[in-house]
Point group: C4
Chain length 273, copies 4
Amino acid sequence: MKQRMLSGSLAIAAVCAAGLLAVPSAISQSTAPMLAGVDEPTLTELALSYRILVNERVLDAYGHVSIRHPKNPNRFLMARSGELAPAYVTANDIMEFDLDSNAIDLRGRALHSERFIHGEIYKVRPDVNAVVHSHSRGVIPFSVSKTPLRAIFHNAAFLGDGVPVYEIRDESGENNDMLVNTNAKGRALAKVLGAHPVVLMRGHGDAVVGPSLEVAVFRAVYTDVNANLQIQAAMLGGPITFLNQYEAKKRQGMERTWEAWKRQASKHDPARR
Amino acid sequence: MKQRMLSGSLAIAAVCAAGLLAVPSAISQSTAPMLAGVDEPTLTELALSYRILVNERVLDAYGHVSIRHPKNPNRFLMARSGELAPAYVTANDIMEFDLDSNAIDLRGRALHSERFIHGEIYKVRPDVNAVVHSHSRGVIPFSVSKTPLRAIFHNAAFLGDGVPVYEIRDESGENNDMLVNTNAKGRALAKVLGAHPVVLMRGHGDAVVGPSLEVAVFRAVYTDVNANLQIQAAMLGGPITFLNQYEAKKRQGMERTWEAWKRQASKHDPARR
Amino acid sequence: MKQRMLSGSLAIAAVCAAGLLAVPSAISQSTAPMLAGVDEPTLTELALSYRILVNERVLDAYGHVSIRHPKNPNRFLMARSGELAPAYVTANDIMEFDLDSNAIDLRGRALHSERFIHGEIYKVRPDVNAVVHSHSRGVIPFSVSKTPLRAIFHNAAFLGDGVPVYEIRDESGENNDMLVNTNAKGRALAKVLGAHPVVLMRGHGDAVVGPSLEVAVFRAVYTDVNANLQIQAAMLGGPITFLNQYEAKKRQGMERTWEAWKRQASKHDPARR
Amino acid sequence: MKQRMLSGSLAIAAVCAAGLLAVPSAISQSTAPMLAGVDEPTLTELALSYRILVNERVLDAYGHVSIRHPKNPNRFLMARSGELAPAYVTANDIMEFDLDSNAIDLRGRALHSERFIHGEIYKVRPDVNAVVHSHSRGVIPFSVSKTPLRAIFHNAAFLGDGVPVYEIRDESGENNDMLVNTNAKGRALAKVLGAHPVVLMRGHGDAVVGPSLEVAVFRAVYTDVNANLQIQAAMLGGPITFLNQYEAKKRQGMERTWEAWKRQASKHDPARR
């Protein structure tokens, strides 16, 4: 009896081993051309960036990533919402929006209520081609504190001498729902972001931007890392030497990081932390 | 060629899916209808919530989750105790209790000594349909401190401007065993809980309630997350901007989180962290 | 070509799946009766406790666990040293020592230089039947601080109102090698331990004792957890409510924890964190 | 019966061992003798040290490890750069450099811009045969603080009463790019390192040296561990008892750690954290 169970288990194990090899192709599986003018690798890479950010503990069940449409600057691409947590986003889940954050081809799918973070930033920041919104644990303490989040190490040089904090009460008043879920709120957030790479959202998280998906994802991760390091440095007491204005201009080579992250996200199920 | 690989992958995926589906059915494996009026999905979901809370580091070997009986408001359902750690609870381990926390069908099984936490709360909180008791690491420091645990970010808005702390010495005196293991102690705890969603238990952990299992589990996790964030914010020094009374009323959409958690808990053995 | 590689991979995967099922039996594999009067389950459980403590982050490459010989109170059992890290200890690695910490059947094997921690404690503590020596991360900060480590939550009630700290300079002077590697140093350590369950070792780690292996392992883990929680509570500032003398006497039910830990350690390779 | 199961298990274990051994040989797979005078085990161990340091959270996508050429003290060996993250370094990726940090056999491969850290240290430290450059999270807060990083526990005795901090502005001025990417900067760094085992690099990370690869890797890990412990101790407030000058001279046995780390790194894909 035990013998037969063993044989059965071996058979299933063998088949599953082969099945697991099918996962990466499942991410890019497209039953029909969904988004005009966007090739599959672009959709796959955007989907994969969700997984990368879950692996790096920047996204949990919340948060989203978008890119400006590669062919049409007045559109952006982002995953649908509903029950779809970031860890499980695939290329098939990517939708197209105009810069007012209207879905182009809704087909009854649920949308992220805070898609306006993305649309309104793309409107006023022509240099930005990717946006990450996260509730990353490192930044939330800074979002509710008077202590500015500043570049403490060179991998986060882009933080410069401080990033702005969006206080939703400023334009929405005391009685607000803490969400950037309208065009007006998105506009207010984009205004606070200004020319910065990051804006903290008080009691909420952050929005991080970049000229490419790779840069935006890198910045989202290293903003969170820098935040944690700055809290540790605060524990030691005394003055902290932050990056000066020149050091903050440092260009960051990130190919190595991006390749490693994509490789890790392609192979391993982020839900299996 | 790609078509054939796709068909092959689908076939393998189907077999694996069947194999993987064997796991949740193992969780819900029922040799006989154990609890009248409770269907298997309900039992399975309750069992799964134990695993979810282990995955989220809210439960370790201690702690328990209950739901009010879906058909009889004077009963509640919770796992047996004994050697059964939360990570291994299955639908077969769920037992039924009256609101005095007596087991309906004992059959010699070991009971959680602190089941009174659940029964006594259900008695006085008709709005509550699920209770989590945990020793989560984030809350214990607050339970022994004079600093109130308050909502610092929007995912924990339900914490409002502070949660009460149950000091067992108040009704049990200095010479107590730190456990809510009688009806009287459970009543005292429920009284301190009042209308709040959470009550901290000094030097012990917390009890978290909700109108559904999903809400109670979500709150248990985000109470712990908020606690950790509040400690981090404290390290930065200076005033902290907590959620105000309006922001604290924010309703939290949690479908995405619940689905992701269930999916993760169904597939992966939480003991394999 | 790819087809053949796939078949080959499937075959290997199937065989490995079966092979992995053989791991637990390998832990208890005994080529010959090594230790008179000690049965295999006892040796296996002692070996497994090393893995448990690695899983719980109490042991890393350093540290050791011993039990008093179940038949001869003047002997104790502990793993050999050399290149053998705790994560890989098996029943075959267990050796027997007298209470002067001499190996009974050396056979050229390397011994832990700090075995004297165990032998000298067994001499003066007839109530103790298991000892854990660790470099756990939680306790080291307390070992070098003036702040006493005290029971902050009920799972660590055994810490009472403080544990002693062994300062090696007291008997060995300034010019010491930080190791309890002689009978004299072991005696000094045991004297500081006194009747306590735990003694911190300044700038080193701790020694934790119990009437059984299960209790000693439980205490080793919860000493570390309590230490981390006490540091977190310190972050909040203000007075901390520690357990009082009565609460500290609380007996801790630990069957559930022990079973869960053994189950986890039996199945999963702790090196695969 | 047990005998037959044992034989069966042994057989299966052997096949799996062969399968698993395929992994390290993949690491050392050499299509042709690449580096004259360096045997394959040496290259494999250097490649493996990258993985070890990723497992121990000392390296992420950044950082590098080198050894002095075993036959020619005027050469050193280090991995190529480009898209190759530390977690994926294999023996094939190791390149040879002269002490001016010029590649001996470039063949169009990308080099780490900060290879000068290694070359310049080897020039002035004839006792050093291995160098690790990391951005480890523990040390960065110390690198920007006035609080010296000191040996707090015996496994990090080599830190002694403090390690120097390289402030790049001292020789490169305010307008610098934060990188040790020239011979001159490397010389300045080596000067600050002096005779120490570690030099922190302000707002960047550290460089750690040793007489062997094993010692340098051990020191890189335990510098990071000690840093984290020192921050925790700082949180308790009050004076900290650091190791005195005698205790700091303690020789550290590290065979057990090295074997455990190599074993762990050989079997498991560090990207699967």
